[in-house]
């Protein structure tokens, strides 16, 4: 193998060529026309929204349900189908002809429930597909990561399922909005119900997923149960995805605790609950109390995964398809007609977020993010399944009633696993924006992005 000699001058020449080649394509980097904000649809007949949901990984089923809800929302906004919640939403500026007369188009992507993949997917939607709004997600880490990205890029982010206090607490952003409730609200809603059901004399043992969401939820629940007089026996962190929880469950048996609180979500929740029941915890009697288990955050899909074991176990949820109000019924009906089964709470919150965004654009008269932020901040609405709701201006968190649910003893179908025990009124779960669990963040200024 022969190689030519290379000397220093050749290297310099190569370097110069490299510089030239690097400069040339810079001409293509900017759009020729001026626009006032990123991805302004201008005179186009359509506007593009980005639906960023987990399609692979542990939350793929939730992601699929979210995507179904988004597709339904797009149909309804565009005036197709039966209109769903468009008919029950109060007030509503939506006309059923798209948003601001533009037909809604959408692009989809896979978050893989990983921050990097979710951000890459969102960036594609923003940079390549020209999305003016990103929505979706099924975990707090991803929601916070994408929310940060949307803030930096200058588009609106409407969070999907994210329960961590941080999303609208220490990591809140001006361009991001959350309809879903949070860990603190779960705690506030559960406290009184647990007091009523199990009394004031309880000794609680926490098993907590060892990451940010688990910690904030544990802190929230601990505060509210101690408030009703319960003692906290112990708090133990479990690694995420532990699989076998037996080494964490056996110590509970002899700890003197009579209540087990599982601050787990997803697969961890299914596994820890299943195994706790197998260890006979629920058959025990400690200090004259029947041993009970509490799962503060329920998801119907996950409850299905735990099967029989959820029966009689308390928890909280953002929404449930069995709610009798007009809005919920309209949504369940059109979702059921389209797909043949009832929607999950993840689907509901995503559907509502899409509609709220569309409505805000109509009211603002533009897609410009800062104007939309203005239209959403402090916006009060009703008829979306959660009763009267407000998007609080200070932290972009929706304030509404919270559902306390219980695993149903006699389910009538595979979807009918939870029953609503109580609808905790908004006043009881509301907190000041500078509450200790939410302090430390700053919405900052809004960002229109550079066109």
């Amino acid at each position: 193998m022969k190689q030519p000699k290379i000397n220093r001058r050749d290297v310099l020449k190569g370097g110069a060529a490299l510089g030239l080649a690097g400069a040339a394509p810079m001409f293509f980097t900017r759009n020729a026309y001026a626009a006032s904000y990123l991805n302004d649809p201008g005179n186009a007949a359509t506007v593009t929204l980005g639906f960023n949901v987990p399609q692979t990984g542990a939350y793929a089923d939730e992601g699929a349900d979210e995507l179904r809800a988004y597709e339904l929302a797009v149909q309804h906004i565009n005036g197709e189908g039966d209109g769903g919640m468009l008919n029950t939403m109060q007030p509503s500026a939506l006309k059923g002809n798209g948003i601001l007369g533009k037909k809604v188009e959408y692009v989809t992507g896979d978050t893989q429930t990983k921050s990097d993949a979710a951000r890459a997917s969102a960036k594609r939607m923003i940079e390549k597909d020209g999305a003016v709004m990103i929505t979706g997600g099924s975990s707090s880490g991803v929601a916070i990561a994408v929310q940060g990205l949307c803030q930096e890029a200058g588009v609106i982010f409407m969070a999907g399922l994210t329960h961590s206090n941080d999303t609208t607490g220490k990591d809140k952003r001006r361009n991001g909005f959350r309809h879903f409730f949070n860990g603190y609200m779960s705690g506030q809603a559960l406290g009184p119900v647990l007091e009523k059901a199990y009394g004031k004399e309880r000794n609680a043992y926490h098993l907590t997923a060892d990451y940010t969401w688990g910690w904030t939820q544990e802190a929230s629940i601990k505060a509210s149960t101690e408030n009703i007089g319960w003692k906290t026996n112990n708090t133990v962190k479990t690694p995420v995805g532990a699989g076998d929880f037996s080494q964490y469950i056996t110590p509970v048996l002899n700890s003197g605790a009579d209540t087990l609180i599982l601050n787990h979500y997803g697969k961890d929740m299914i596994n820890s609950l299943t195994q706790a029941v197998q260890f006979g915890l629920r058959d025990k009697n400690v200090n004259g109390n029947d041993f009970v288990i509490v799962v503060p955050l329920y998801s119907r899909l996950m409850a299905q995964g735990a099967g029989e074991n959820v029966k009689g176990i308390f928890g909280s949820t953002n929404w449930h398809w069995s709610l009798p109000d007009e809005g919920s019924q309209a949504f369940v009906k059109s979702f059921g007609q389209a797909y043949g089964f009832p929607p999950s709470q993840a689907a509901h919150t995503c559907y509502v977020q899409a509609l709220l965004y569309a409505d805000a654009c109509e009211r603002a008269g533009t897609f410009m993010p800062c104007e939309v932020v203005g239209a959403l901040e402090g916006h009060k609405f009703d008829g979306m399944g959660n009763g009267p709701t407000e998007y609080r201006a200070e932290d972009h968190q929706c304030f509404k009633d919270v559902l306390v649910v219980k695993g149903k003893e006699n389910p009538s179908s595979q979807f009918d696993v939870l029953e609503v025990v109580e609808v905790t009124p908004r006043a009881q779960v509301e907190y000041a924006p500078d509450n200790e669990f939410f302090a430390g963040g700053d919405l900052g200024p809004c960002n229109n992005g550079s066109a």
């Binding site: 542990a58 939350y59 112990n234 699989g243 076998d244 299943t274 197998q278 006979g280 299905q304 995964g305």
Partner: protein, 232 residues
């Protein structure tokens, strides 16, 4: 399970015996992704609740049995699982150790060509061993289902851990794999105790890997590894 295992070996794996270990690992990994996605398409991504037969539901009061009060309980199903695994282990061990078939396979592991020269069809025996391995793994999965509701991703969750256990135990050594499994499991349980965690924060997260590193540094071929297996 046996059929799937046999089909896999015949159709794919056997063409890879002559390739490098890296390629063997990679092609099976690719296959795992494909199978996993097919399962997802058919059964969804959500875990499927599987309960143990009613007759063995609940837990055994071992404490009373041992005369220690009712402080120690253990689910019946886990006891059955334990007994069952021990039986399977014994069976596999006996099969590999005491039958001619097992002897040939062990010899073939060291020097396939030599055994082939002796006029024994090693390929066919490897196929059967692969099928057997699939059956054992499958049985483990079936029996484990009531403890851990299965979902399409469950294989990946166990992949790395089983890999570590086998290597730490010593490649080609059944006893080593069992010993490593017990050792890592017990250490993990100890590390999960709050008392120990407060001394070494995060120890429960890394104990398995830490022990794996130490063992491999002290014993180059794992706990009971023999010379000549997987070394080229």
């Amino acid at each position: 399970m046996l059929l799937i295992g046999l089909a896999m070996e015949r159709g794919l794996i056997r063409h890879f015996y002559k390739r490098t270990h890296a390629e063997q690992i990679l092609v099976t990994f690719g296959l795992a992704i494909v199978i996993q996605e097919i399962i997802k398409a058919n059964f969804g991504a959500n875990p499927i609740p599987t309960s143990a037969p009613d007759i063995v539901a609940g837990s055994a009061n071992i404490g009373t049995f041992l005369g220690l009060g009712d402080a120690i309980v253990y689910p019946w199903w886990r006891l059955i699982y334990l007994t069952f695994s021990l039986m399977i282990l014994g069976g596999v061990f006996a099969f590999l150790q005491f039958t001619t078939f097992g002897m040939v396979v062990r010899a073939g592991m060291h020097d396939r060509d030599m055994v082939n020269l002796l006029g024994i069809n090693v390929e066919r025996r490897f196929t059967i061993v692969f099928g057997l391995a699939a059956v054992v793994a499958g049985l483990a999965g079936v029996m484990y289902a009531p403890i851990l509701p299965p979902d399409y991703h469950i294989g990946m969750d166990f992949l790395v851990l089983s890999f570590v256990v086998v290597v730490v135990g010593g490649m080609g050594s059944l006893g080593g794999a069992v010993a490593a499994g017990f050792l890592l499991g017990i250490l993990q349980s100890f590390a999960s105790m709050n008392e120990i965690k407060s001394l070494f924060p995060g120890i429960d997260q890394i104990i398995i890997y830490l022990v794996a590193v130490v063992i491999l540094l002290v014993r180059p071929r794992g706990l009971m590894g023999r010379k000549g297996v997987m070394e080229d």
